[in-house]
């Protein structure tokens, strides 16, 4: 049964790691390109939000599955 907790921890941890790197890159590039071309800011923001939504989905699904594992499968 303890293996379920380790699996859940791995899911949340690795998901957070990947999402963190991804959001860092995304936000950094957004700021960089907005500083370079301020007139593009609106377009870039819209596209960045699409990317943020795509990026957000994977760790969120991971959190959901991990919570399910911890509280229903193991609980």
């Amino acid at each position: 049964m303890e293996m379920v907790f380790i699996a859940a921890a791995l899911i949340i941890g690795l998901g957070a790691l990947g999402a963190g790197i991804g959001f860092g890159l995304l936000g950094g590039k957004l700021l960089e390109s907005t500083a370079r071309q301020p007139e593009m800011a609106n377009q870039l923001q819209t596209k960045a939000f699409i990317m943020a939504g795509l990026l957000d989905a994977v760790p969120m699904i991971g959190v959901g599955i991990a919570m399910y594992l911890i509280f229903v499968v193991a609980g």
Binding site: F49, L54, D56, G64, V72
Partner: protein, 284 residues
């Protein structure tokens, strides 16, 4: 509610109100035996599982249809009472939504098709309304349903994969339809066979790659929306297990985060639908 332990509570809140057929001689949870095959509501999660493929999730269907009617009714109501000059209140909101979706379609869609903008508006507002149901505290409506004698009730249709897959398969059929219509059977099969490597020896490899890429589209669309909403729902349910006086410390930030997530997921579903349909309209 009908749950004593935390695990039962979570399982209870993640089970849909299922209407399905129980086979002859099936022993129900209260010990009674079904005399002949009957259509009925499931009283336990096990019964819902045993009803198999042909079971219907009545709550998902009902709430999604209700939200669809709300969307159509609201937009019709406003469209009938349009005033020129400075719009006020509700009309302003509807116009903003409309122009927002119009902007997406203008930016992303390059073909010519009068169906795409209404489709995008429908998808956006419908998903938004279905997702917003999640901000209603999770026990309110299930306890009303429970008082009316319904054992299970899950109000957010997008936390049920049946609803999200229903929408994404609809989009997938449209993609196929417009691919065949715009490119023709030969054009579409050529695109599948000679992309990305334009050489006859690579045809099987190309076919495998392109067909996989085609099939993954509706799956990823549906799972992204479902996954986000389901994960959010599970966390809300877990927060509801805490003592009442401490709940707001977690519930408020999570709900505020969801004010961001809810329109974002509706927006992404819409944008990706338009992007996929735009790709289906590109004739080389």
């Amino acid at each position: 509610m009908a749950a004593d332990t935390p695990v039962e509570y979570i399982k209870h809140h993640l089970t849909n109100l299922t209407y399905g057929k129980l086979p002859e001689g099936y022993e129900r949870a209260d010990g009674s035996v079904v005399q002949e095959a009957t259509w009925t509501f499931a009283r336990t999660g096990q019964e819902a599982t045993d009803m198999g493929f042909m079971a219907i999730h009545v709550d998902t269907l009902g709430w999604s249809i209700a939200m669809g009617i709300l969307f159509l009714g609201l937009f019709r109501f406003v469209a009938n009472r349009v005033t020129e000059g400075t719009p006020s209140g509700l009309q302003n909101l509807i116009e903003m939504t409309f122009e927002f979706v119009q902007g997406i379609v203008r930016d992303v869609f390059h073909g010519k098709n009068p169906l795409i903008a209404p489709l995008a508006l429908t998808i956006f507002v419908w998903i938004l309304l279905m997702n917003i149901l999640k901000l209603i505290p999770i026990d309110y409506i299930p306890s009303i349903a429970h008082a009316l004698g319904l054992e299970y009730f899950k109000i957010v249709p997008t936390t049920d994969p049946n609803a999200t897959f229903g929408m994404s398969i609809g989009v997938f059929l449209l993609i196929l339809f417009y691919s065949f219509k715009v490119k023709g059977v030969s054009g579409f099969s050529k695109e599948l066979a000679f992309n990305p490597f334009n050489h006859w020896i690579m045809i099987p490899f190309n076919l495998l790659l392109e067909i996989l890429a085609l099939i993954i589209k509706p799956i990823s669309l549906a799972l992204r929306l479902f996954g986000n909403m389901y994960a959010g729902e599970v966390v809300f349910i877990l927060i509801a297990l805490l003592p009442l006086w401490i709940q707001w410390t977690l519930n408020v930030p999570w709900a505020i985060f969801h004010i961001l997530v809810i329109p974002l997921q509706a927006f992404i579903f819409t944008v990706l639908t338009v992007v996929y349909l735009s790709a289906a309209h590109e004739d080389h």
